[in-house]
Amino acid sequence: MKITKEEVKQIATLARLKLPEEKVEIYQKQFSAILDYMEKLKEIDTKEVNPLYSPAELKNVFREDEVKKDLDREEILKNAPKTDGEFFIVPKII
């Protein structure tokens, strides 16, 4: 599976990462090798196989919809890089 430099940059954008130019080439080679290895799975016929997404395979774990207070505002904001004491602050969007 040959991955191009443009594809690496596109994946980085989707993943919200910014790659320095010199890393793009390294990742391009590594991704191609890793995805080549993963091609292996194509050997198996899985047409009739039901995917397994979690070994727990639990269905509909319900609980009562009760309002509970786990943390207060101060605690929630404690680790934020920037707040005004009430909200998380980010650069202006509009």
């Binding site: 690496v8 994946i11 980085a12 989707l14 993943a15 919200r16 990462l17 910014k18 790659l19 890393k23 990742y27 590594q30 991704f31 090798a33 890793i34 995805l35 290895y37 993963m38 292996k40 799975l41 194509k42 198996i44 899985t46 196989v49 039901n50 995917p51 397994l52 997404y53 979690s54 070994p55 727990a56 639990l58 774990v61 609980r63 786990d70 943390l71 605690e75 929630i76 404690k78 680790n79 934020a80 890089p81 920037k82 998380f88 980010v90 650069p91 969007i93």
Partner: protein
Amino acid sequence: MEILNKTLTEIRESLQKKEIGVEELIKTCLQHIANTEPKINAFITLREEEELLEEARQLDRQGPDPNQPLWGIPLGIKDVLTTKNLRTTCGSKILENFVPVYDAFVVEKLKAAGAIILGKQNMDEFAMGSSTENSAFGPTKNPWDLSRVPGGSSGGSAASVAARQCFGAIGTDTGGSIRQPASFCGLVGLKPTYGRVSRYGLIAYGSSFDQAGPLTRSVQDAALLLEVIAGHDPKDSTSLNAPVPKYSQSITSLSATKFTFGLPKEYLGEGLDPEVEKVFQSTIKLIENLGGEIKEISLPHTQYAIATYYILVMAEASSNLARFDGVRYGVRNAEAKTLKELYELSRSQGFGDEVQRRIMLGTYVLSAGYYDAYYKKAAQVRRLLSEDFVQAWKECDFILAPVSPTPAFKLGSTINDPLKMYLMDIYTTSLNLAGLPGLSLPIGLSSDNLPIGAQIIGPKLSEEKLLALASKLEEALPKLPLPPLS
């Protein structure tokens, strides 16, 4: 320092009998940590001495409590489990200042049981790696040979327990991250059944794989720790609502005399280091002498396990690690002008290379046009791998397998070749895919005096029998000497 060579179970008895006070024990541990830490770098954050001693004095004043099975016992915690008011970094720069406001379920249980948490142990960043070299806080060294890795990702915990800095630790295992470092450092490491231990407060990497479990110096110790941390938790929807047996008691009462071990023929071929194979073969003989039956079995999809595992775990990682955006916690880039820039710059600056690699590959396999070919395909093969085990349990009670194809490798030997590092996980990832429990047990030393481990794999929720059987084997196996740095 002899006191530090005791197992967790032994020190527990000494504490209960007041042969040693908690304060004295903590002082001895801290002194030993100060001596050994410059060489192995097992801790990312060690708690303040005065705070620890105060906690110890309080326990001494109160005296042993029958409801606190870990009363006064110094433990370490892998830095991926949240600890209230104690920095939790996941081995990453992006969380270098993160101080959680709540305890992980596991940590809550340990505290309630009277354990003393010494600090947070080093790991591969976000648990991604097999050597602890991917830590933003520098690599951990193996106490058996300082030029070698302790394994990973729970390498700090393994090195620390092996070096006698603490009496046990809680690590996490997504694709082998408890068992492989346990085998590299000569310890017992148990990855419980998926759902046996709550993941609440375990900072997620691969949510359908992650499980916390003990790293200890004996099987009995692992049983005791599992007994404390296992159990249902409404805060984790994948947590299993099954009763928790008294593992530490049934280990001696359950008879483990008649059992059949399956030996997967796919595990004993090419790629297995001859030294590992030699020690492994002698363990097979030992089992036969103990009256165990050994039967060759087949896990026919084994060759697809690594590709399947990495596709799925990278996909889950890309989704789980989207939360690190420089907004609610973690490091934020100071120069970002727009929100998109804030995300991109904070993440690229905060995450190391391996984490970025896995996030990107995960993004790729989940992206439109590739989802069916990679992600769904891998989930289908996961079903087949899981069914391999279902078939196997018709022929045997447990499976015996190597843990890692080689003993501990040299620092720097695989770090620049990610695929080579992934391929080392050949014997450990299958059971995470299937959600099964596995225990790594030290079975001997290589000619370079490096520990070698074997793993016992069991059906879901078979921990009780698995521990009893492991304990029986442990008794019969030659006891490992102390590591040179201890």
